[in-house]
């Protein structure tokens, strides 16, 4: 069994990231669900909807929850899921993070969480040869 994946973001960023990564890799080896958080929302209702999706992707090994920004509403919804099951939450989701996760579908939730953080960080770099003054 593999961990499940739930991505909670402002608007449809999560769905777009999943679509892009799946196109690149040709497959999506993990069970994935996304939650899009609109500008105006009722967080309590979204926590409930997110938890239903969490359960849908949990095959018993837990769920890795990715969110875009710690402290924002999607991040708060993600954190509200921590007590509802075997859940690991990682913020700052980006395409490199998602691709790295999907490259290691057989890892435990704990190891997969570490891969998520390293993949996300490795994708952030100053691309100039030298730093502008």
């Amino acid at each position: 069994m593999n961990a499940g994946l739930l991505i909670i973001t402002h608007k449809h960023q999560g769905r777009m990231l999943v679509e892009t990564a799946t196109t690149l890799l040709g497959v999506c080896p993990l069970a994935v669900e996304t939650v899009s958080v609109p500008d105006e929302c009722e967080p309590g209702e979204l926590v409930k909807a997110a938890d239903e999706k969490r359960q849908a992707v949990d095959s018993g090994d837990g769920v890795l929850v990715l969110t875009d920004m710690y402290g924002a509403t999607p991040g708060n919804i993600a954190n509200a899921l921590k007590d509802k099951g075997i859940v690991s939450v990682v913020s700052g989701v980006n395409l490199p993070m998602l691709i790295r996760i999907l490259n290691y579908p057989n890892l435990s939730l704990r190891e997969l969480s570490k891969k998520a953080v390293s993949g996300g960080r490795d994708g952030v770099m100053l691309c100039n040869q030298s730093t502008p003054d």
């Binding site: 196109t23 690149l24 890799l25 040709g26 490199p96 691709i99 790295r100 490259n103 490795d122 994708g123």
Partner: protein, 89 residues
């Protein structure tokens, strides 16, 4: 260990989809596979690694394979690059 120099010839270079194809090809082999561009050497079985080369059209790379099937690995990776990753241009 085998090494082979090769030039990226497709218009978009070693972009994400091309990198994914290259990695899919590389992971089919038991040999360790690396790609080198100038002083940067990356794991040929890692998409994020290959992306780090930022290799556009005309970039010169060195394919490196080390293992029992290194000959076939170099042959197939070379064919994929020369076929422009099945892209039109």
């Amino acid at each position: 260990m085998l090494e082979k120099k090769i030039t990226i010839i497709n218009k978009l270079g070693l972009h994400a989809r091309a990198a994914a194809k290259l990695v899919t090809c590389a992971t089919a082999f038991d040999s360790d596979i690396w790609l080198r561009r100038d002083s940067k050497k990356v794991n040929g079985k890692s998409i994020l690694g290959v992306m780090m080369l930022a290799a556009g059209k005309d970039a010169r790379l060195t394919l490196i394979a080390d293992g029992d099937d290194e000959d076939e690995a170099i042959r197939q990776l070379t064919a994929l690059i020369l076929a422009r990753f099945d892209e039109e241009e």
